[in-house]
């Protein structure tokens, strides 16, 4: 009797062991090229370390917008992945829908990790903190920098080591630059969404209330901001374009342009002029948006899966891996210790342009609007901006007033 029992136990045990498949964790991500390569490498390494226990599969789900759409659909279908990389301004509906796991649940059970929480850049943690808790970790974050063509500066009699710090100074410098030729422009801009927010904030305006329910965009400050850029275009010293911006930046005909810190590597490799960089100008305020994306966990997954996902999250955002990510891609490290590592510090010394974004992170970087209806509102803002900038005779005040009203309807619709 006992023997049979023992044998049964043994059989069951063997069965249990052979059928104990690794826990599968799916992560959806939204970038290609070197970014996807790095993520896939990190996942592969994690899988090796946790062979038999946890298997992470990283799946490319299109760009930021496409990934957001797919996740929304998955939310409805009850079929979300465990983890996802989601762009800063596109998380509203997930937050409102309670789709994200409050990571504090895992942090509180994990004192070893909890001790490292302070090692994340505070503003990134702030940016991921909501009413519902700490919902995400920084993954690939950036701030915008102003890149300058030092050759053009010198030719125009301007000091490239003393670049403009305010938009008024940009305008003044741009006027000088313009004397170099009809085909040369002082400042180039387009319809990059995070920059449209920055311009408004820097002139003292606001876009949307803290609770995400009220549009605040139509104000003398915002009108002033839009009039400023429109004036530059009208007078021929700024250049605006919906497309072809990158090629203009490479052409050597643009003296100043604002782009992500992530562009440093790309521009260094591709431009044949002396590339300078500085912090993004302010006007009434010095403030820049945090761009890029964070990584989130979906609460609807089974407990075992979430535990496994937590393990991967820790690995992904470890000092070693955030350093690796930053080295490979040019995005900022998520952790201070990674920033302080010798490899990253060497980059800061070899090329001080890389340090600018960290300076902005400490001084002036803020979370972008993130609310549920915001992606739709943002598309409307972009459209209105394009209208005003492509036709410098358009009345910015009237366009903004109208935009404010229409956007308010969208908010009202969403919340009531």
């Amino acid at each position: 009797m006992k023997r049979t029992f023992l044998i049964t136990l043994l059989v069951v045990a063997i069965a249990a062991i052979s059928f104990a498949a690794p826990v599968k964790v799916t992560m959806w991500y939204a970038q290609t090229g070197i970014y996807s390569q790095t993520l896939l490498d990190i996942a592969a390494e994690f899988n090796k370390l946790h062979e038999g226990e946890i298997e992470v599969e990283a799946v490319y789900t299109g760009n930021y917008q496409d990934t957001m759409q797919k996740l929304l659909a998955a939310m409805v279908a009850g079929d979300v992945p465990a983890l996802a990389q989601i762009e800063q301004s596109r998380i509203g509906q997930f937050v409102d829908g309670g789709a994200f796991q409050d990571l504090n649940y895992f942090i509180d059970k994990d004192p070893e990790f909890k001790a490292t929480l302070d090692d994340f850049w505070p503003r990134f943690i702030q940016a991921n903190t909501y009413e519902q808790g700490l919902l995400g970790f920084p993954l690939n974050c950036s701030t915008p920098l102003m890149y300058i063509n030092r050759d053009l500066f010198k030719q125009a009699g301007l000091d490239p080591d003393n670049p403009p710090k305010t938009w008024t100074e940009v305008y003044a410098a741009a006027k000088q630059i313009k004397t170099l030729g009809e085909d040369i422009f002082g400042y180039r801009f387009g319809i990059d969404d995070w920059l449209l927010e920055a311009y408004i904030w820097q002139f003292g305006g606001q876009i949307i209330s803290e609770d995400g329910r009220e549009m605040l965009i139509y104000s003398p400050e915002t009108v002033a901001a839009w009039n400023f850029f429109q004036k530059g275009v009208r007078e021929g010293i700024f250049i605006f374009g919906v497309s072809g911006g990158n090629e203009l930046d490479l052409s050597g005909r643009i003296a100043m342009v604002v782009r992500s810190t992530g562009s440093i590597g790309y521009l260094k490799q591709n431009v044949k002029y002396d590339l300078g960089a500085t912090t993004m100008p302010g006007q009434v305020k010095e403030v820049v948006p945090i761009g890029g994306a964070n990584v989130f966990m979906f609460s609807a997954r089974p407990e075992a899966e979430k535990e496994a996902a937590w393990e991967f999250l820790k690995f992904l955002t470890s000092t070693e891996n955030t350093k690796r990510w930053s080295l490979a891609t040019g995005y900022m490290t998520s952790r201070i210790s990674a920033f302080e590592s010798s490899e990253i510090q060497k980059i800061m010394t070899d090329d001080p342009r890389y340090a600018l974004t960290y300076q902005q992170l400490k001084d002036s970087a803020v979370r972008r609007p993130w609310y549920g209806p915001y992606p739709e509102v943002h598309a409307m803002i972009t459209s209105a901006w394009e209208e005003v900038m492509s036709d410098p005779t358009k009345d910015a005040d009237a366009v903004l007033k109208n935009l404010h009203e229409e956007a308010q309807y969208v908010l009202d619709d969403y919340y009531f």
Partner: protein
């Protein structure tokens, strides 16, 4: 019996209209920013039935990253090209695209190594191509990606870059592949001296190599071999077509499309077209001496045109617009002087020089001999010699020359060793007026009535954008200075600097005409003081009043500077056409401009 008949018909067709093969020689795979592999690409193109020749030209910098198995991408592309090439059936070509936006992109074929834009600039890649005697192509030329420094010419490099894309694009609509901008740049390249033929390629980035639309490059060769394909590229025996199978032939006695002939003062050009079922809408011969429309129609025709070759350097190519808006562009035939001395691209630096003042002229001198030569340039207008100089030009060199001419003749003929090389018609103006817009006074549309007056008087009005500089001021005979807009929200920029005041005063004292337009609205901002200072520094007793709206201390608003120029003060209403400028003032303006 039937079989024989069919065979005869096909053969007859071939003999009447020649043989042509089609190629797509600019395309990408996942080895750079495209999709799929070179193997897939060559296979797809081969099996498509619409091309006989396919090249893979992935981006230079992406070739720097090895494949997962450690091998180099270019080696693999070359391997696949060899695997898929079957002489007589399908020619697969390896290549890469040198990608330096701002200079331009160049596809380079059949080299065993590559180099990328991070270590090379334009002159470096030119040297790289020459050293390897590689076959290369100018891609999608234009403002966006670059036009090779406006096609700065190098006779040695010209031997290796033999084609230029007039068509590039992977949109589904074949009509959009040949683009106006590329077509215009093609002519620019020819006018700078490049001997390039016209190609059309899909530049595929999303698979569907050769099949995404109908545009391809046609190779006019009688045998489909690798050797003949490269020969066609080198000798430019190709044409660009948006149509799937249009056939054209362009020839002259002793030469086919892409060839260069020497010392032929007159020639007969022959154009043939065949595309059963597809009629043409229009056909043209473009040349550096003008455009001729051909009196042809239908879906099959031949025409012969007699042409004169008036210059020491002449080129002609054919352009055909089909009824369905597909376009076909041929490579040129050149008729050149055998001296290998050419003068091209002559122009006035200022597009509208002022008559009576010296003006700068630039032109390119080309020595395409492998020996130094002296080029003797004479510029004539009728019998008059306007300019004459000899230049020492090294072997295989193009020099961009700038000279100052002092003539009022409009019709200038440039001769090289007494052969007519180029003609320029100078577009003189009587004077240049600058309209300041750099002091919060951007009133270009409001002041049209005023600027029109100057244009009607035979002058050119140029807005000053950015900053008003001494150079700009002195470059013109008139400076229009409107007072700033009191309502501007950028009040810091309203004031005129003391430096600017000083050179404006200097300008007037040296003979310039200053037109001051009084303020649109009373200026209460402190910047008005700088305009008052301007008035103080001018050698008169006039003062600015009412926030810039009026003046005092003078009974006339036209002021003559002794031994110098003059100043005219206009009210806002007068300058914007809301009230009439009196005859006396108009007379004074004309007098100052030497028009009376």
């Amino acid at each position: 019996m039937k079989k024989l008949l069919v065979l005869l018909l096909i053969t007859a067709g071939v003999f009447s209209f020649g043989q042509v093969y089609f190629g797509n020689i600019h395309a990408h795979t996942s080895y750079s920013d495209g999709q799929g592999t070179p193997e897939e690409a060559f296979e797809h193109a081969r099996d498509s039935g619409v091309v006989d020749i396919q090249a893979i030209t992935d981006h230079d910098h992406d070739l720097n990253y090895p494949l997962p198995d450690g091998s180099w991408k270019l080696d693999r592309i070359i391997e696949m090209a060899e695997k898929y090439t079957v002489e007589g059936k399908f020619i697969a070509i390896s290549g890469f695209e040198w990608t330096l936006t701002s200079r331009g992109h160049i596809t380079i074929y059949n080299t065993s190594e590559w180099i990328d834009r991070s270590t090379t600039d334009l002159y470096d890649i030119y040297q790289w191509i020459v050293e390897r005697k590689a076959t290369a192509q100018f891609c999608h030329p234009g403002k966006k990606y670059g036009d090779f420094f406006d096609f700065e010419y190098f006779p040695e490099v010209d031997l290796y870059i033999n084609t230029i894309e007039v068509g590039n694009g992977a949109g589904a609509n074949s009509n959009n592949v040949i683009k106006d901008e590329y077509f215009e740049r093609y002519q620019r390249a020819l006018n700078r001296g490049w001997h390039v033929g016209a190609s059309a390629n899909q530049d595929n980035h999303h698979k569907q190599w050769a099949t995404v639309n109908d545009a391809r490059t046609a190779f006019v060769i009688d045998e489909l071999t690798t050797e003949k394909v490269y020969e066609a590229l080198k000798t430019r025996n190709i044409y660009a077509t948006e149509d799937r199978n249009a056939f054209i032939s362009f020839s002259t006695e002793g030469a086919k499309m892409g060839d260069i002939l020497y010392d032929i003062p007159e020639a007969t050009l022959k154009v043939e077209y065949s595309d059963p079922g597809e009629r043409i809408r229009r056909a043209y011969i473009y040349s550096n001496n003008g455009i001729m429309e051909l009196a042809v129609s239908g879906d099959e025709w031949t025409i012969e045109i007699d042409v004169e070759n008036p210059l020491s350097y002449n080129w002609y190519f054919v352009k055909i617009d089909q009824i369905d808006s597909n376009e076909i562009v041929s490579s040129p035939i050149w008729f050149q002087s055998s001296t290998n001395k050419y003068l091209l691209n002559a122009k006035t630096i200022d597009s509208r020089p002022v008559k009576g003042l010296p003006f700068d002229v630039s032109f390119d001198l080309i020595n395409s001999l492998r020996e130094d030569q002296v080029i003797s340039v004479k510029v004539r207008s009728g019998e008059n010699i306007v300019f004459s100089k000899d230049y020492d030009i090294s072997a295989m060199t193009c020099l961009e020359i700038t000279e100052t001419f002092d003539t009022e003749y409009e019709d200038l003929a440039f001769f090289v060793d007494d052969e007519l090389a180029f003609r320029v018609n100078v577009d003189f103006v009587s004077f240049t007026a600058h309209l300041d817009t750099s002091h919060e006074n951007y009133f270009v549309s409001e002041l049209k009535p005023l600027t029109k007056i100057f244009v009607d008087l035979g002058g050119e009005v140029k807005p000053v954008i950015g900053e008003l500089t001494e150079k700009t001021t002195f470059e013109g005979q008139v400076l229009i200075l409107p007072l700033p807009d009191a309502d501007t929200f950028m009040k810091d920029f309203m004031a005129i600097s003391e430096e600017q005041i000083d050179f404006i005063v200097d300008y007037v004292e040296k003979g310039g005409l200053l037109i001051i337009v009084l303020a649109k609205k009373e200026i209460t901002h402190p910047s008005i003081e700088s305009y008052k200072l301007q008035f103080e520094k001018l050698p008169w007793v006039v003062e600015l009043e009412n926030g810039g709206r009026s003046v005092s201390g003078t009974s006339t608003r036209n002021l003559e500077i002794e031994d110098g120029g003059g100043v005219v003060i206009l009210s806002w209403d007068e300058a914007t056409g809301n009230s009439v400028i009196d005859e006396g003032t108009m007379g004074y303006i004309e007098f100052r401009l030497g028009l009376r």
